[in-house]
């Protein structure tokens, strides 16, 4: 039994190291955001607690942080819901109908999800300029829907395939059309799966950077990741306190969502990435 004990201690040590690595940057972000002086680690400075950074980020309108946050939530939210709805219709067809070439659609979706964004964004910029959509929500929502579709299709197809076919058959016997079977039978049964797919799609869109960087130009449509990446002080110095407070305000809800829905996120990602 001594070997068991050694093993337990080794695992515990490993877990502590792993957690420190994963959480250290996040804690450093929080600690710095609460410090009057972001240079508190240098020997010359000391740590003084303050909420000043948070109030400046939230109330100072010239920083536009709240605008970025609102833009991000609207754009990612609309794209996630629209993307998952679009994907569920397609996933229903792939999971249920005898469609020649439906495997090719899945194959193709997988390939599409690996396209480098840089090879899409140049033309998108021209297209959005031509449409007059640059720096508007439209410039981001449409590409984001397309961006979250492959992942959503994969996850939903896999979930829908597991729903017993007897349920559909009963509904068809009752005279339901196929669209009705999807909306009245499949979607209610799969609602938890659909919601977790929406969450995943939201995180994907919320994290997106390059499209937002190129297709928006100011606080009217700029999203949080770009806003924080481009935060600059008035005189060229980097306002670390503000940046860390803004980062903390943005990531805290994401962290809480992750903790609550951890199981569903993992299930969804696994379905999306390693089928077979």
């Amino acid at each position: 039994m001594r070997e068991e004990k050694v093993k337990t201690i080794l695992i515990a040590a490993g877990v502590v190291l792993m957690l420190s690595f994963c959480l250290a940057p996040f804690f450093f972000m929080i600690v710095t955001s609460l410090s009057k002086n972001p240079e508190f680690l240098s020997p010359a400075a000391d740590y003084q607690f303050t909420l000043q950074n948070y109030s400046s980020v939230i109330f100072k309108e010239s920083l536009h942080f709240i605008d970025y946050l609102r833009n991000s939530i609207i754009v990612s939210g609309v794209a996630a819901v629209a993307g998952v709805l679009t994907a569920s219709i397609a996933a229903f067809a792939i999971a249920r109908f005898e469609l020649p070439g439906k495997m090719l659609v899945l194959f193709f979706a997988l390939a599409v999800s690996m396209f480098p964004q840089i090879s899409i964004v140049g033309y998108l910029f021209k297209f959005m300029t031509w449409m007059g959509w640059i720096n508007s929500y439209f410039a981001l929502i449409f590409p984001y829907v397309a961006w979250v579709l492959p992942l959503s299709l994969w996850i939903l197809t896999s979930y829908f395939s597991q729903i017993p076919k007897e349920l559909d058959r009963a509904a068809y016997v009752d005279g339901c059309s196929r669209l009705k079977v999807l909306t009245r039978v499949i979607m209610p049964v799969a609602m938890p799966a659909i919601l977790s797919t929406v969450l995943l799609a939201f995180i994907f869109a919320f994290n997106e950077f390059m499209f937002a960087l190129i297709l928006t130009s100011d606080h009217h449509a700029r999203t949080v990741p770009v806003g924080i990446a481009l935060f600059q002080g008035l005189h060229g110095e980097i306002p670390w306190g503000d940046i860390m407070a803004a980062s903390a305000v943005t990531t805290l809800p994401v962290v809480i969502l992750t903790i609550i829905f951890q199981r569903r996120i993992i299930a969804g990602l696994t379905r999306g990435a390693v089928k077979g």
Binding site: G14, V15, M18, L19, F21, C22, P25, F26, F28, E39, T86, I89, A90, F92, I94, E98, L99, M103, V105, L106, F107, L110, A111, M114, F115, P116, I118, S119, I120, G122, Y123, L124, F125, F142, P143, A146, L153, T157, S158, I203, N207, M210, L213, I214, P225, A229, I243, S247, T250, T251, V255, T258, Q262, R263, I265, L269, A273, V274, K275, G276
Partner: protein, 293 residues
Amino acid sequence: MNRIFSKDILRSYFFLLPFAVFIIAFILIPVVGAVINSLYKDVTFREREFLLFDNYISLFKDSGFWQSLRFSMLFILVSVPFELILGLIFALLLNQIRRFRGLIWAAVLIPWAIPSAISARTWELIYNYNYGLANYLLSGIGITGEPINWLGTNVGAFISVVIADAWKTAPFITIILLAGLQGIPENLHRQSRVDGANFLQGFQKITLPLLKPVIVVALLFRTIDALRVFDVIYVLTGGGPGGATTSLSIFGYNYYINGDFGYGSTISVVLFAVAFGLSILYVKLSRFEAGLR
């Protein structure tokens, strides 16, 4: 299948229509547009001019292109194995945990969930020469007398980018490998222990071979991701110092942002071709059809 159904089949395809419209309009057409654009001289406020392959010829003579290609290859070669090993260790640890399981799993997921541009900003502060956490910890343990210039030197910047990227992506690999680990029947391990095998032997003889297909999937997926890396580098180094960390995506972006769409498209088409080749390989290797019935 009989004939009566054929009209039905046609109607069935309509279910795929909204999906197809989005993908075609906002992903496929832009890619084709980039290919067409790469054949032109297309600079903002100047006349568009058809060049055929002149952009490609210039690209292959461009030392900046070779530098960024070299960086991208080196980045893949270093970061992907590093992330894979990290992810494997994490997965093995998580698979052993019984207590606080939900919380610990969630903690490992957090780096994945935070937008990389935002976490990269925190890493930028961590790497700060004068008051960053990295130099503080290193001098605390007494490893280095002098603080390290993380972002200002070629090697330092490379290592910084690799670590920040690994932090972000290891959780993803962990999740994929964990799914594979949990598919290994527990009694296989028990049997091997009865047979007198120690942990390392069990790992080598049972875990690793059974995990191989999943590792291959994770490897290729990460390779493609590493090939197109952008956010972390854009925030941390901007491609510097002196172009030392300019990935292919950053290289292409620099042309787009200066209004040179022809040359920028040429770069992105080359990157696309490499990524597409890898993704075909990925799809073939992942044998995805098996999971769908």
